[in-house]
Amino acid sequence: MNSRSLQTTIIFLVVGGILALALGGFFGSASRQFSSVLIELQTWISSRFLGVQDFVSAPRDIASLRTRNAELETQVSQLQAQVIELQQRVNETEILAALVDFSRTNPESTYKAAAVIGRDPSPFLHYIIINRGSNDDIRRGMPVVTNQGLVGRVDAVIADAARVQLITDPGSAVNSSLQNAKTTAVTFGSVTGDISLDMISQNAVVQPGDLILTSGLGGGYPSDIPIGQVITLRSLEFQLFQQATIQPAVDFSRLAIVLVITNFRPVDIAPLEPQTTP
């Protein structure tokens, strides 16, 4: 055995002996002090290293965080747009479901659904423009309804669109009947978009809340389509007729989808009307 290997053997024995003594608990207080010093040293080095690491890598993290933030914001806005779109579809589906229910409960008529795509540019007139025209068999004079009630009638038609005169238009007049009073009257539109009932017989007993339907007289509209309800009645003894203000059945400010009754042909009674001779 040469001197180098003897030296190595002695070192191993000494180290092994020290380890054995340490494991046996003979260096208890000394090893605790030593280890605490080591731990403090390591803690100090580690904290300094983390500080330096933060200092070096922080700008890169901010940049990546900003990028990530921008990505997430884009994603959020896309999701919000999707939510809005889906909400619109839900609303549209609800409207369509209501219209389908309405058409099922009124099977005597044939309906064509149309979306409202515009209104008359003039504030004096209450007309809407729908996205169905003569290509969809829409004809002038056809009544337009929703599941809530009467909307108006088709006034002009082109290939893929039509203009509808609302019953709120100042030029609109609809022959109506009061369901409870069993009498007829005429519903007029106005410049404000309100509708009123006129030409109610003085003998008729009308109450607020009475339902107003189309009478079908004159051949312009089918009968028994809801128009609205009586709000107030004005009856003056010196006038020929009573008048009433009406709460329309249809919310005309929120018209989105309407139904055109395509199997109704208006009757032109003008030739039957008496001519005035000078």
């Binding site: 795509i117 515009g118 209104r119 008359d120 540019p121 003039s122 504030p123 004096f124 007139l125 007309y127 423009i129 006034d155 002009a156 203009r163 005169q165 100042p170 030029g171 106005s190 410049v191 404000t192 978009g193």
Partner: protein, 166 residues
């Protein structure tokens, strides 16, 4: 050639008027975007195609609206006439001219519409028309007139570049 921008631009204005502006109501009145655009266009110094634009917008509005077309034609051409007359006199204060034309034009077009519909048998109470349509429309038109004037001024510089006249 750049004047052909009138077709898409005025078509867009009429579509916006029908689908968007007509929904933004103040009482029963709303702004008249084609009217303001024609007024602003007519007030631009170098523009020479104002009458064409006015006739074009009348044709488009007449196609969409139930309003009798003679009322539209008389109203819009009168606006061009007033605008050009004012432009020569108050050219140093274009915004003042714009406000004046919008004010006069709105009143004239609204009362012309009122008269035309009365003649055709639609009964309007004048008080309701003034209070619920004319005055609110006038206010909205005045509000819209400044941004529209700015836009039409920039458009006029593009359609009629200054170097063509130098």
């Amino acid at each position: 050639m750049r004047n052909l921008v009138a077709f898409p631009l005025l078509a867009l204005a009429v579509i916006l008027q029908s689908s968007v502006v007509s929904q933004v109501k103040l009482l029963s009145g709303y702004a008249d975007l084609p009217l303001i655009m024609i007024a602003a266009w007519a007030l631009q110094e170098r523009v020479k195609s104002t009458w064409h634009w006015a006739v074009l917008v009348c044709a488009m509005l007449g196609f969409v609206s139930k309003m009798p077309w003679p009322a539209l034609v008389i109203g819009y051409l009168s606006i061009v006439f007033v605008a050009q007359a004012l432009q020569k006199r108050v050219w140093q204060a274009p915004l003042l001219a714009m406000f004046s034309v919008t004010f006069i034009g709105t009143l004239f077009v609204n009362f012309l519409s009122f008269a035309a519909l009365q003649v055709l048998g639609t009964n309007f109470p004048l008080g309701d028309v003034v209070g619920l349509i004319v005055l609110p429309s006038l206010l909205l038109n005045m509000l819209f007139s400044i941004p529209v004037y700015t836009f039409m001024r920039d458009l006029a510089r593009w359609v009629y570049p200054p170097e063509e006249f130098e």
